[in-house]
Symmetry: C2
Subunit: 487 residues, 2 copies
């Protein structure tokens, strides 16, 4: 590390990175370096430069040299100096983009109304209450909360969830059997995707999945080399009585509170069948409780997990109840799966933000989560009612599938002659909807490629996100897109 | 969904999950259900029960029935009622643990002093300043910040990082070429681990890695079926002039600012060699800038990325500068890798918390991050100085490897006759250290299994985490563990 370095290597002054190479005096070199940094935009307009003393000390040059350089650049117009405000990069026309930087891309064209399912109302995020909890939680947290952390997740949150899930979802667990993760996809990867540092996955496939469900989850499982086997769904939910007929299936993934996306709650007989199958085969049932708190026609049915904590993995998150931007979820595990999941997570797995975990724990404990969910339940229930009423008024031949629950509904298109007709009808409705400026999905996209049950056709309509002033317009547009009654 | 459900299924009152089945009146059933919930701990001591009116409405029973039930349970001691405070579950001896819950595990035995590398001082996390930024950032954020989000990460943070990295690390980029992730391991997975929904990985192996480095990263790559090929390291850093001799290597991972863990900065000639190799082969160089802001003997050398943004992927995070609990990192990408990385990330990949991203953006913009880093730089520099002085005083034959930088130092054990001696010496020193109550690593654990360069032996000592009052004691213990000078 000889002195030949000094002129050619980069030299950092304060937090400013300058290269003082080249001919001439240090003053000239500094002027050149600063001018170049401003010209190419590496120092953005408005950036405050370090005081003479700091920069001089850091560069090993005289303070007057720095002062002279600044003065020169102020005279040239690259910097501006204001009494009491120090020396800053002058505000001027956008600096030349660095050679390698392309022009910013224009924003993608957007539909007028977002009726895609799965998204809660972002405008309703309870910022003030969340910040109040954040302040309390981060102030009170022990120092180790900011250290490397326990792969189980913060104990404060696991305790708060234990109580909350017992009260609200009938989940029977304790803090030592909860593992915090960053959402449902993360949980699936932890269970099936193989551990962080090699070894055996926690669970193996094939995995029985409801024949209508989220394509993203099927892809994720496929990428983890897990085969999914479709299980038919009817008005009582998944046909869990058929589980024992599926060959070699080693786990089952269900949405018992509110079948996604068709909307039936899992009938008690089907719940019993699922538990019996799990007990007799030793294979776990995964309960995706994605919107379990949102039921409008009656009190929510308790979790499947409450029937048999030893055979059910209960998965939940704040993605629907609070925000998908928080990346916060939980896995309530049978005792024997805790250590394997922790091993899969590893010591350095990208688990959820500690600050969000601490904040959510407080948010739950102080009752703010209950209040928020109650408020959202009311809001979404009204949205669903308006949707149902609008469809009943303009297109009474079109049925709204499933129970009054959640953040979406399925509008089933009338039965046609033959499946091809049904698909074409759905495609036509989708085209009409998009023409009306609506973003939404058709039901076919949710169907498992190997499903054998009767195909169903319809539109999957999320109603949580449009702003209040626009929802009526969105509904009108949707109704215009619906096919008329066939003669 | 017939009426036979009502008595046997779970009925949720408010956010309370109760089963009102069985013989007798509704009042008796409610008393039984509440008593059981409290007895088994599903309702924890202190939990506030819903007001009579709410619970009655939700259960479809008379308000007086609820009032009577509460009164009975207060009399029995399960509940307590305080004027103005409502009815709560009584504080009493720890309720029976649910049948399936094992006794809590005792905490693992801990060493007295944590000298493991890689961890910043958790007690120094700037809670107040972070909360100030959180309040500002979350108050000002647009609604879409709480929606599904852009896999690139928040634009506020990408803009703040563009400016900060230019100033502090000489990184040349723009917001459209930064992708936010949840740390270095996440970044490696995004680059090599294959996309979320099948398809081609962004980069393929084999990957050249420095022959001393983090075992966790090698395991991660191995789990992604990426072969790592060791590159020798000497006092000028990685021997990048040997890259072209490595067969078929398709990318290289370096720690140019501060070789991890041996401590040499990458010499300008070696930097040039790396860039030349990248340009002539078209293979990218990955720059792991894990502690680039922490240099104590001179100004930090600018990033490798600044020499050639088209051929270097610059990876950084707040894991060392702020906290590993935040799970916040960034990838500065060559233009042509941006879309492939976004495709690998997918729309629903577990990216970093939006709240943390927004907060960090503000934290950087308002200067708090600079202030914090400066303060930590001073703190860690003093720690390093004390370590060096202590070793110089008690064991002057033991060299401290590498430059004055970062959050760790390597104490190289004196050269022995033959490699076996060196390993035994290191093992003996580790045993002695652990006997002294110290947690730390030996150098051998960091060596690539196929490394061919001369083996080095020593202790990897982190100095950031011990509290101020304990650091002197830790140093004394460390010095006692060091081998004496051989005759």
């Amino acid at each position: 590390m000889g002195e030949s370095w000094v002129n050619s290597a980069a030299v950092l002054g304060s937090d400013l990175h300058l290269e003082l190479g080249g001919p001439g005096s240090r003053r000239a070199a500094l002027i050149r370096a600063l001018r170049e940094a401003v010209r190419t935009g590496r120092l953005a307009p408005g950036t405050k430069l370090p005081p003479y003393r700091s920069l001089a000390a850091d560069l090993g040059i005289a303070r007057n040299t720095v002062a002279d350089a600044y003065a020169e650049l102020v005279a040239e117009g690259w910097l501006s100096a204001r009494q009491g405000s120090g020396t800053r990069v002058a505000q001027r026309a956008e600096p030349l983009r660095p050679a390698h930087s392309p022009a910013p891309r224009p924003p993608a064209a957007r539909p007028v109304h977002n009726l895609l399912q799965g998204q809660p109302d972002a405008a309703s995020f309870p910022r003030t209450a969340w910040l109040t909890s954040a302040r309390r939680a981060l102030t009170a947290a022990p120092n180790d909360a900011f250290g490397p952390g326990d792969p189980r997740g913060r104990p404060e949150l696991r305790r708060a969830l234990t109580d909350y899930l017992a009260r609200a979802r009938g989940v029977r667990t304790d803090p030592e059997r909860i593992v915090i993760c960053s959402g449902f996809a993360h949980a699936l990867r932890l269970l099936f995707g193989g551990p962080a540092s090699g070894g055996h996955p926690v669970l193996g496939g094939p995995l029985a999945v409801e024949e209508y469900g989220l394509e993203f989850h099927r892809s994720l499982l496929e990428a983890a080399a897990v085969r999914t086997v479709p299980l038919p769904v009817d008005e009582r939910g998944a046909c869990t009585d058929q589980l024992s007929a599926l060959p070699n299936v080693r786990a089952a993934l269900l949405t018992p509170a509110h079948q996604f996306p068709l909307g039936a709650p899992l009938h008690p007989d089907r719940r019993a069948a699922a538990i019996n199958w799990a007990r007799s085969t030793g294979s776990p049932v995964l309960e995706d409780d994605y919107d379990g708190e949102f039921r409008y026609d009656r009190q929510p049915v308790g979790s499947l997990q409450g029937l048999d904590p030893d055979h059910v993995v209960h998965l939940g998150s704040v993605s629907k109840s609070l925000s998908p931007a928080l990346r916060l979820g939980w896995m309530v595990l049978p005792e024997h799966l805790v250590e394997p999941v922790l091993a899969a997570k590893g010591e350095r797995e990208a688990w959820a933000s500690a600050t969000d975990q601490l904040t959510l724990a407080d948010f739950i404990e102080c009752g703010a989560y209950d209040r928020h969910v109650r408020s959202m339940r009311l809001r979404y229930r009204r949205r669903r009612d308006r949707l149902v009423d609008a469809v009943a008024a303009s297109a009474p031949h079109i049925a709204v599938s499933g129970i009054a629950a959640g953040l979406h509904a399925v509008l089933e298109l009338p039965a046609q002659d033959g499946e091809q007709d049904g698909e074409r009808g759905e495609e036509a409705a989708l085209r009409a909807a998009r023409w009306q400026g609506l973003a939404l999905d058709g039901l076919t996209a949710y169907r498992h490629p190997e499903a054998t049950g009767p195909a169903r056709h319809g539109l999957v309509v999320g109603y949580a996100t449009p702003p209040e002033h626009a929802f009526g317009t969105a509904l009108e547009a949707l109704c215009r897109a619906l096919p008329g009654r066939r003669g």
